[in-house]
Amino acid sequence: MRKLRSWQQLLYQLGLAALAFFVLAPVWGLAYLAFDGGVYGWPTEFRVWPEQFTFSVFRELWARPAQTLSFLGTLRNSLIVAGGAALLSVALGAGMAYAFARFRFPGRQVGLFGLLVGALLPPVALMTPLYVLLTALQIRTTLFGLMVVYTAFAMPFCIWNMRAAFQSVPKELEESAFLDGAGAFTAFWRVTLPLALPSIAIAGLIAFLIGYSEFALGWLFVDKGDNVTLAMAVSGMLSTSNFYASRLAALAIMMSLPVVIIFMILQRSLLSGLLIGVTEE
């Protein structure tokens, strides 16, 4: 291994710092507005630091970010739909992913490819059909309805990802479980599933993010103030006529912060989850 000379170290650090600037500067460009508090409309002058540093907007938003709900209320809605979507798509998809990973059956190749395409349809591609479906089931305006909608988005992707995870678990482990007298499901539940857990968590996390940040479908389906999610509240602030930059910025931060923290905590397992994802069959 060649050692880095100090000037090389400096170059590397400078390069990384430049990249960090590219990543963080835009974030701060929005964030300082939130701490300023008094910026109605878009700001008209350049400022790096807020004129008066204040948390008042955050406090205000904590009490009432949307029409009828507190921040915790909207957050709860978001968590219900996004978390529910994540759980549903993982739970419903796991069996299918396992089948794709372990068994040979007709249509397997086509099905896998179809999953990839289905995984990333444009959001509106599902709107009308789901509208019809959910209206027929009489759950269109409910949080459960939204949960179902986001599941529809996320599920193909989850299946695709979990399949790779299951595949990376050596078949021999299951076979030795069979020898110990375990049934097919027990072997899956006790052996394969725990080993694939990091990747499954990632799949769930992605599904969560999809549901957490979606608003276009939300606004089309939901018609009660009580069912507004955080993403819907933020997007509502952007399109409102009396635009208030500080509020928008603050709510965007309050919305992103939980996810950013989760990602940072999970960074290590994110990497290992990705690692499992890349093992070839």
């Binding site: 291994m1 060649r2 880095l4 090389q8 650090q13 990384l16 990249l19 960090a20 990543v23 963080l24 835009p26 460009g29 878009w42 002058e45 069996g95 299918m96 396992y98 372990r102 068994f103 059956f105 007709p106 896998l112 990839l116 395409v117 289905g118 990333l120 444009p122 959001p123 509106v124 591609a125 009308t128 059909p129 789901l130 479906l133 599941t151 599920m155 193909p156 299946i159 990802n161 790779a164 993010l209 940040s213 276009a216 993403a231 933020v234 997007s235 952007l238 928008l248 919305m255 992103s256 996810v259 950013v260 990602f263 940072m264 960074q267 994110l270 990705l274 690692l275 994802g277 890349v278």
Partner: protein
């Protein structure tokens, strides 16, 4: 070539020419009067009068429309000469709408001449390659501009002849350019063809300047082909060191002289064929050419608002303006086949000049500010030849191979019973039910919607089963497709079956602007994100670099931020008047507003880069960990051998692991929605997903059926892109990333 093959070829040539002629005659008959046709007919009238009176002074000195050399206009004049003069055409400003009517029969006669030139070009190309000529015969832009009274038909023909003659000269004596030369008879034939091509170049220059690009392509190809490594001088003949430079000088002269002579001949022909140059040639030529440079900066051009890549948009679809005129709107497929056939065309040494022509013309059109659609006729000929190669390579030969296999083995549909089917079924069931409900059902529903006129007015009928009812009736032939304008909201409260016309239109180029942008957007975003992501991963994974954990934590922040918020963050940076970026700049230098297309593309790409690169960074980092341990410190690409190391060791290992991540990023990019929704850039900066959302949204019109058709189209395009990428990358399935 056997006897029967020769007859077959002759038959093909005749057939293709007939197709070309009949399509052009149809266009002559049906196309409405276009911009500029009145101008050129006016010129034709005056030239006819001058020819009748023998008034050469007027031909030489009349400065009307001086920006274009007069040969084509003279040809139109000669065509209408036998008919009695008509009432003069009134001159209107160039921004006025096209003339309502033009004097007959002069108008039709001139158009017929145009069509004749157009057909001759088809015939000439058919001699080289009948299939290419067929593509040229049906190319809608080619048809349009070689059946209206435009300047294009003649230079399109002469430039084709020029290059074909040149290619012929390369073919008759492939070795003539080499030292030693061919037999004298061949050499004479070769010179004959070269003289013809020089004459054609002169005529081209006298018809329209831009077509001379083909001449430049010839020069490039010629100089390249004759730039052989110098034959080693016989050692005995070089007594002193002074002989060497002299010999080299002679070699250079011998290298350049034929090309110069050829060019000189072309210039002579040009001056003879352009009567305006008979008086003050240099001054008038400069005046004429300078006009175009000014015009490219004029308000007229700016108001057209075409993006830099507009020529490629013209090539991505047929002429959008004249429904019912063009029979085979296959322009998009010709372009795609051309892309596929480029490599093969390059390998044929006598056709290499066509590749050079294609790229030079394309480069010029992309660079030049004026982007009128007729300009693409400067490259349709090499395009169609490339398309013919692409057809042979990607369609015909695979088909032949398949056919031979079928003849040997017979057509068998084997369904080997797979051992796990029954066991798999139980595991598949829950997911299958959910998927059919949430993914397959919506897709089928979209397909059905796309066949109707379902919209916000007929919503009640539609969601209560009207869509199924109408689609069923339509597909079983119980109702004929209704004729409605899908783009305006119908007053009817009932859904109607309208048939697949919208889908066929989409597949043949409706929305070519957006399709092209969407594909370009996908390619550029993915390239940028991959470059930055891999670059960052390399930096982070170089052994010995400090603080990598911290840096990585910072870099994945954009991924954790919901895309919608990310879009708002970048809007805040670049919003036209209040952007942070703008405010930071001194007042004199303000960034242009977002409705400047090229700037907006840059801003959008930057935002997408910010949002997308962490994903690639993580994927690449994960891939590095999977590298075989023998590859010591794969990320060490600094130092002299660094680039070579990356190129030959790191990248080949990385690529297969990264390809799936790239596919996923590409699909995200293709369907990018929030960014475009929030930034709201000008047309045609739009993804199909965004367009589909706008069309769907009741507050923008609620054209559900159109939206559905676009979604179906998107799915097909995406499938095509993924299949293509899979072929290229050989990534295969079996790999997935978060």
């Amino acid at each position: 070539m056997t006897h029967s093959r020769r007859w077959l070829r002759l038959l093909a040539i005749v057939a293709v020419t007939v197709v070309g002629l009949s399509f052009r005659l149809r266009a002559v008959d049906r196309l409405p009067i276009d911009f500029d046709e009145d101008d050129y007919l006016l010129a034709a009238q005056r030239y006819a009068q001058d020819l009748r009176d023998g008034n050469w002074a007027d031909i030489v000195n009349w400065d009307y429309n001086y920006e274009h050399p007069p040969l084509t206009k003279l040809a139109y004049g000669a065509a209408v000469l036998p008919w009695p003069p008509s009432e003069p055409i009134s001159q209107v400003s160039s921004s006025a709408p096209p003339a309502r009517s033009l004097p007959q029969p002069h108008f039709t006669i001139s158009r017929l001449l145009s069509a004749t030139f157009g057909t001759l070009a088809v015939l000439a190309l058919a001699l080289l390659d009948p299939l290419a000529a067929f593509f040229l015969a049906i190319h809608t832009w080619q048809i349009k501009y070689t059946s209206q009274i435009m300047l294009e038909p003649l230079p399109a023909l002469t430039s084709t002849l020029m290059v074909l003659c040149y290619a012929q000269s390369r073919r008759v004596g492939g070795s003539m350019f080499r030292e030693g030369g061919p037999r004298p008879a061949l050499r004479n034939a070769q010179i004959f063809w070269l003289i013809l091509s020089a004459i054609a170049l002169g005529l081209t220059a006298a018809s329209k300047y831009t077509y001379c690009i083909a001449g430049i392509a010839i020069v490039v190809d010629w100089l390249w082909a004759t730039l052989t490594p110098r034959p080693p001088l016989p050692t005995g003949k070089v007594p002193s060191g002074e002989g060497e430079p002299k010999a080299r000088g002679r070699a250079i002269v011998r290298w350049l002289a034929p090309v110069l002579a050829w060019g000189l001949l072309a210039i002579v022909v040009f001056v003879i064929a352009d009567p305006r140059l008979w008086n003050d040639p240099v001054g008038r030529l400069v005046q004429s050419v300078a006009y175009h440079a000014d015009y490219a900066q004029s308000l007229h051009v700016k108001q057209a608002g075409y993006p830099t890549w507009q020529p490629l948009v013209w090539l991505s679809g047929p002429v959008p303006w004249h429904p019912g005129v063009f029979v085979l709107p296959l322009d998009l497929f010709v372009s795609l086949l051309a892309v596929a056939g480029l490599r093969r065309m390059w390998r044929s040494s006598s056709q290499r000049v066509l590749v050079i022509w294609l790229f030079m013309a394309l480069g010029f059109l992309l660079w030049w500010n004026t982007k009128w659609p007729q300009y693409i006729l400067t490259l349709t000929v090499p395009l169609t030849v490339a398309a013919a190669h692409g057809f042979a390579e990607r369609v015909w030969e695979p088909f032949l191979g398949w056919w031979q296999r079928v003849q040997v083995t017979g057509l068998r549909w084997t369904m080997t019973r797979q051992p796990d089917t029954r066991r798999a079924f139980a595991w598949l069931l829950p997911g299958l039910i959910a998927l059919s409900l949430f993914t397959i059902f919506p897709l089928v529903y979209q397909g059905a919607m796309a066949l109707t006129d379902f919209n916000a007015i007929s919503i009640k009928d539609g969601i209560q089963g009207g869509i199924w009812r109408e689609t069923w009736k339509g597909l079983t032939g119980q109702v004929a497709p209704a004729r409605v304008d899908l783009f305006s909201t119908q007053p009817s409260k009932e859904v109607h079956y309208v048939g697949p016309s919208l889908l066929t239109q989409l597949f043949t180029g409706l929305g070519a602007d957006i399709l092209f942008f969407n594909v370009m957007w996908t390619a550029l975003s993915v390239i940028l994100q991959t470059t930055l992501g891999v670059g960052a991963a390399l930096m982070l994974n170089r052994r010995g670099v400090w603080l990598t954990g911290w840096w990585r934590t910072i870099f994945i922040v954009p991924w954790a931020i919901p895309e919608f918020v990310g879009a708002v963050i970048w809007l805040r940076m670049f919003v036209p008047r209040y952007g942070w970026f703008n405010q930071a700049l001194p007042a004199e230098i303000r960034a242009p507003p977002l409705d400047n297309i090229n700037y907006a593309v840059g801003v959008l790409l930057l935002s997408a880069l910010w949002y997308g690169f962490p994903f690639i960074l993580l994927a690449a980092t994960a891939a590095f960990k999977l590298f075989p341990p023998e590859v010591d410190d794969a990320a060490a690409i600094d130092g002299a051998a660094g680039w070579a190391r990356f190129r030959h060791v790191t990248w080949p290992l990385l690529w297969p692991l990264l390809a799936p991540a790239i596919i996923i990023r590409a699909i995200f990019a293709f369907n990018q929605f929030y960014l475009f929704f929030v930034m709201d850039p000008p047309f045609p900066l739009l993804t199909f997903a965004t367009l589909s959302y706008y069309l769907f949204n009741p507050s923008y019109g609620g054209l559900f059926a159109v939206s559905a058709a676009i979604n179906i189209f998107t799915v097909v395009v995406l499938v095509g892109l993924i299949l293509w990428f899979n072929r290229v990358s050989k990534a295969g399935e079996g790999v997935a990333y978060a």
